[in-house]
């Protein structure tokens, strides 16, 4: 099977083929072929590279929209397989050039709205305070600009990814 994957901003294509019956696979990535022993376990994979014996124990949790959260022993990374990453990611840096859409990085309650449309804001100036788990988290401007939209109001609950403020 052939998949298009995107990881850490890099696009590549990958071919996965089973060899025989016993959990051995041939993977071609970046034009390079490798043989691995691979078996699914729980929410992950146990992989051993045949050439050098390297053992890799990884979790792979499917998200919505074709992305997987891959957890290697020392880091977590999102991989998109045959699809597009969701527009509303974890961090609100979506939007066209010049336009910055600040979204909620976690669910919570809007405790205070510090700006209104038309305000001039400096880089790192506070925009909205969201309370989650009893801690106040101040979301700041990713760049200097003018607030063109405030999409929430004080006291409401927001989901992760919800648009809060647009700055141009």
């Amino acid at each position: 099977m052939k998949f298009d994957v995107e990881v850490a901003g890099r696009e590549r294509s990958i071919t996965v083929e089973r060899i025989g019956e016993t959990g051995r696979f041939r993977i071609v990535l970046n034009g390079q072929a490798r043989e691995v022993e691979a078996s699914p376990i729980d929410l992950g994979l146990s992989m051993v590279f045949v050439a050098d014996g390297r053992s890799l124990d990884a979790a792979a949790t499917p998200g919505s929209g074709g992305d997987w959260l891959v957890q290697l022993p020392h880091l977590d990374v999102s991989v998109v397989v045959d699809g597009r990453r969701h527009v509303l990611g974890r961090q609100g840096v979506a939007g066209g050039p010049g336009q910055q859409r600040v979204t909620a990085p976690m669910p919570g309650r809007v405790l205070r709205v510090l700006v209104k449309p038309g305000d001039q804001v400096a880089h790192r100036q506070g925009l909205v305070v969201v309370e989650a788990m009893k801690m106040e988290n101040e979301l700041t401007a990713p760049k200097a600009g003018i607030v063109t939209e405030v999409a929430i109001s004080q006291g409401i609950s927001v989901e992760a990814g919800r648009l809060l403020v647009v700055i141009e």
Partner: protein, 507 residues
């Protein structure tokens, strides 16, 4: 004769911790839970459990009336408050006594005197213990701004705004210069009001390069107070402890004994009983100052248990039931190992430590020698928004501090939480820092390090990592595809993914 029951007026890891001690002492366990905690580990661990209200703590875990009602209904004899919530609330302690229940903690008036940070400073001074310079009385909310500014100038900058009812870094703000004073006081008041229902604050000088050292103690009802070897909690992020260890590299045996004596003196001055902790700041010259007292069990109590072999929660319960404290005081002061605790939170360290609540799909908790797992979350639990996002305390120990750090590094690599982001990548970074290994840090260390990183991710995705991740995702997609076509000869557990994908679709 039916056995005694203990109501645990808390949730999460500390509720589970207390229940374990109850079991070991033959006591029954009664849990309370909010609507957000129906499947929480503390509910599953308890003998009995009672729903006490909606998710927000103010409607459940902070409702004294409902807690007392459950204690009476269930026939509990003792109430253990854990830490946080009502653990340092004298009204709750009093309400327990009024209902004929034993409160597993100090007497209400000791909570009142020591829980109020400014009153506690008076006690320390009366006990002959040096205190950090600061305001002697809390500020009423109606105090005019210029009076605040004048008082701050008298103490000197940098200074800290602290909630009188504070704890855990909430309602606390560092102020470097006069223009930041008033906004800091406003934020601190607001946070304190939300966290503790009490908006009063006071000011305290920020000591330069100070280390946070604290002395655990136990007191019984017959006048015996036993202080323990110190804990160091200087690794803090925004005034919240992140790593705690015992013993401290920064203390001589003489300073340990002096600090322990001061802590015991403070406790005796207020007729303190049960478990408590006196926090000190240690300056660069080895001089120490009383900071405040926590009139309850602390998050970091396990490091003391490990280095002394003494079970503090057992003793809390035994003291509450009227037993005499028979610990050898020399044993309490002589650590037999070096222990380090990390607080594993459901927070994304690469997004400014934003909370990352959600469904914990699976956990790989490390084992083997020198590891203690104090966890409040099991696989299948959805971490709610309403509370502190602590998943687990990971405690390691070994003979020496370098060996404990080597073990910590091994253990952090084994630990995996699937489903939510955690602070594990941050700890893997921290444990590799030369300053951490050398023990060269003070309470500002971590915030300075984090500020200097300017949001840089705690792990770099190398080309090799990206290749690995791509292969893992490719294989996972292959298994999912072959699992979907019935009868394909794949291993059974590939079905997890199908399930997971279907669950995502249902959201």
């Amino acid at each position: 004769m039916s056995r005694l029951k203990v109501l645990i007026a808390n949730r999460g890891e500390i509720a589970v911790r207390v229940m374990r001690a109850c079991r070991e002492l033959g006591l029954g366990t009664v849990a309370v839970y909010s609507e957000a905690d129906r499947t929480a580990l503390h509910v599953r661990t308890a003998d009995e459990a009672y729903l006490i209200g909606a998710g927000p703590a103010s409607e459940s875990y902070l409702r004294i009336d409902r807690l007392i009602d459950v204690a009476v209904r269930s026939g509990a004899s003792l109430v253990h408050p854990g830490y946080g919530f009502l653990a340092e609330n004298e009204d709750f302690a009093q309400a327990c006594l009024d209902a004929g229940l034993i409160f597993v903690g100090p007497p209400p008036d000791a909570i009142t005197r020591m829980g109020n940070k400014t009153a506690a400073r008076h006690v320390a001074i009366a006990a002959g213990v040096p205190v950090v310079p600061g305001t002697e009385e809390p500020f009423p909310e109606e105090l005019p701004d210029d009076a605040l500014v004048a008082e701050a100038a008298r103490i000197g900058y940098p200074l800290l705004v602290k909630a009188v009812a504070g704890g855990g870094g909430k309602g606390m703000r560092l102020v470097q210069s006069p223009q930041d004073l008033l906004p800091a006081i406003r934020t601190a008041r607001s946070e304190a009001g939300s966290a503790f229902g009490e908006r009063a604050v006071y000011l305290e000088r920020r000591l330069a390069r100070a280390r946070h050292i604290e002395i655990q103690l136990l007191g019984d009802h017959y006048g015996t107070v036993v202080p323990f070897v110190e804990r160091e909690c200087s690794i803090q992020r925004r005034h919240q402890k992140v790593v705690e260890e015992s013993p401290s590299l920064a203390l001589t045996v003489e300073t340990r004994r002096a600090m322990a004596a001061c802590a015991a003196a403070v406790a005796r001055t207020v007729g303190y009983t049960n478990a408590g902790t006196i926090e000190f700041l240690l300056d660069e010259k080895g001089k120490f100052y009383f900071l405040e007292m926590n009139t309850r069990l602390q998050v970091e109590h396990p490091v003391t248990e490990i280095v002394t072999g003494i079970d503090l929660v057992h003793w809390q319960l035994r003291i509450a039931m009227g037993e005499r404290l028979t610990i050898d005081p020399e044993r309490a002061l002589a650590p037999v190992a070096h222990a380090i605790e990390c607080r594993i939170y459901a927070e994304d360290p690469d997004q400014g430590f934003m909370p990352s609540p959600g469904l914990v799909r699976a956990l790989n908790v490390p084992g083997g020698p020198g590891v203690r797992d104090d966890r409040g979350v099991a696989a299948g639990f959805t971490i709610p928004l309403f509370y502190d996002s602590l998943i687990a305390k990971l405690i390691v120990w070994s003979d020496t501090r370098p060996d404990a750090i080597a073990r910590l590094s091994r253990v952090l690599d084994e630990y995996r939480v699937i489903g939510v982001r955690t602070t594990l990548p941050f700890f893997r970074w921290l444990v590799a820092q030369p300053e951490f290994a050398a023990g060269q840090f003070d309470t500002t260390y971590l915030d300075s390090m984090l500020a200097a990183r300017k949001g840089q991710a705690f792990v770099d995705v190398t080309d090799g990592d990206a290749d690995d991740a791509a292969m893992v995702a490719g294989l996972a997609a292959w298994f999912r595809a072959h699992q979907a076509s019935a009868g394909a000869p794949t291993a059974p557990s590939a079905g997890h993914w199908q399930r997971a994908a279907r669950l995502e679709a249902l959201r």
